[in-house]
Amino acid sequence: MKSKGARLILQPAPLLRSGLTTPAAMRDVVYALVPLVIGASWWFGLSALLVLLAATAGAVITEWIFSLGAARGQSLQDLSATLTGMLLGLTLPPGLPLWMAFVGGAASIGLGKLIWGGLGQNPFNPALVGRAFLLGAFPTAMTTWQAPSGPAGFLGIIPSNLALPLQQPTVDALSSATPLGLMKFQNQETPLPDLMLGHTAGCLGETSGLLILLGGVYLALRRSIDWRITVAVLFSASVFSGLLHLFDADNPQPIVALFSGGLLFGAIFMATDPVTSPVTPRGAWIFGIGIGVLAILIRTFGGYPEGIMYAILLMNATTPLIERVTQPRPFGRGRPTL
């Protein structure tokens, strides 16, 4: 029998390893997105898969091209580009021409991540940078929505998906309005069960509240996301929209406000991006509250029906400041100066 000799380990810290690597963290989020992808293809058919694929291809190909000459080597295997592409794809309308989705994926990775120095260096959420770029570049296509076809139209492709590169979709698609658009421009409410199950027009991943919550609970249990941020966004958004509803009954009830538009998706998948959100617990609360209030502010008083994207991007910009203010104070020292 061999006795296990004591081993003297002579190496610098860290000696304890948790096994959490970048690809593992990314994979967790991808798993949480799977129900959403299935839900999106259920409601929007093959179009949903094509748009998702195009956005992911744009992100992955851009990452691949830019890491060809990079000193740190190929960075595709950390899965972050795939995840960014998927997140972007889930925030796009189902009828978006595929070449635009591809451009969006490339802009996400190129403008959102790589020019800042790659993973971990970017101040803004890359997927949302790509979406903001698309909304600025192609405002019409990005705000043309399709009513969900349901399983009957699974094999059908929305004709505007297939527009040639750099060309407009030539066929006029039957368009529909999102719950938020209906509320803002026609003062018409969507019933809550539809919002829960996803039987509404909207971006691919944002329509079904239940599926998003499912992914969110999984991520929170796996501790892949900071639950404080999500809770803070949802809490502040419901309080603020509740106040507005009391003040003027034309504004939606808090529960409708939470489940319509991209608020839930943004609160769970976008705002919690560990790179662009504060690491301190108090900072996470401030960050989340800021997003919730800004999103409802833009929805109610701004020109756009939905404001979660700009709310998150704006709060991303304040992350370094929040982190500096909420740094734990070393015992016996004064407050850090700004």
């Binding site: 021409p97 635009m100 403008l111 020019i115 770029f133 600025g136 570049a137 192609f138 405002p139 296509a141 527009a163 750099l166 060309q167 407009q168 030539t170």
Partner: protein, 219 residues
């Protein structure tokens, strides 16, 4: 200095503004017109030529007056010289291309405030003879005009699908609206700077490698 040496010096002053010390890409001067009027190739080209003309004439004037201008009030004197030529250019453009003049709007009078122009007077024209000052101004003005034209062309191709108003991609082109808006100006300028800095750093790297290789023949 021999005649030949003088010519070579003038040539160097001319070329440096085009690439090595390009006012836009290296000194990052004159950003205001660069971002504001580069939304179409024709606007950018007109603005570039106007700035070129003002810079060249002002440099000639300041350089020839350099021994008469009192040191204490030199900046005001430069500004008066520049403003004079800007006024001339303003009227010339109004007479020749009224449409473009209208689109450029306040940015033509604002050439007076272009720091690149004042900078060349202070840094170069006031200290050098007329010939060299002209070469320097032509190089810097040319570099500025080229950069502005490049940016304007890029933004027009993506933003309107055309170049000088000639459609490139057919009638169904989907315009990238963001490229005509201010964010597009910042994004394109940033990308252009990125590419040029990359080219520049590769060149430097290559020449350093060459020096190392020559220094160590054993390698």
């Amino acid at each position: 200095m021999s005649r030949d040496g003088q010519n070579r010096r003038a040539y160097q002053e001319l070329v440096k503004g085009l690439w090595r010390e390009n006012p836009v890409f290296v000194q990052v001067l004159g950003m205001c017109p660069m971002l504001a009027v580069s939304n179409s190739a024709i606007n950018a080209l007109t603005m570039g030529l106007a700035t070129f003309t003002v810079l060249l004439s002002s440099s000639l004037m300041v350089s020839s007056l350099r021994n008469l201008i009192p040191r204490q009030v030199r900046i005001s004197c430069y500004i008066i010289v520049i403003a004079t030529f800007v006024t001339v250019i303003d009227f010339v453009l109004l007479a020749l291309v009224p449409d473009v003049h209208k689109e450029l709007g306040a940015f033509i009078p604002l050439i007076v405030a272009n720091c690149m122009i004042l900078g060349r007077q202070e840094a170069f024209a006031a200290k050098h003879p007329v010939g060299l000052a002209a070469a320097d101004a032509a190089g810097m003005g040319g570099g500025f005009a080229l950069a502005l034209f490049g940016l304007g062309g890029f933004r027009e191709v993506l933003g309107s699908g055309s170049l000088f108003g000639v459609s490139l991609f057919g009638a169904h082109f989907e315009p990238w609206v963001i490229m005509l808006l201010p964010p597009g100006g910042f994004i394109s300028l940033g990308l252009l700077l990125l590419v040029l800095n990359w080219v520049r750093s590769r060149r430097t790297q290559r020449s350093e490698d060459l020096v190392t290789a020559q220094g160590n023949p054993s390698r």
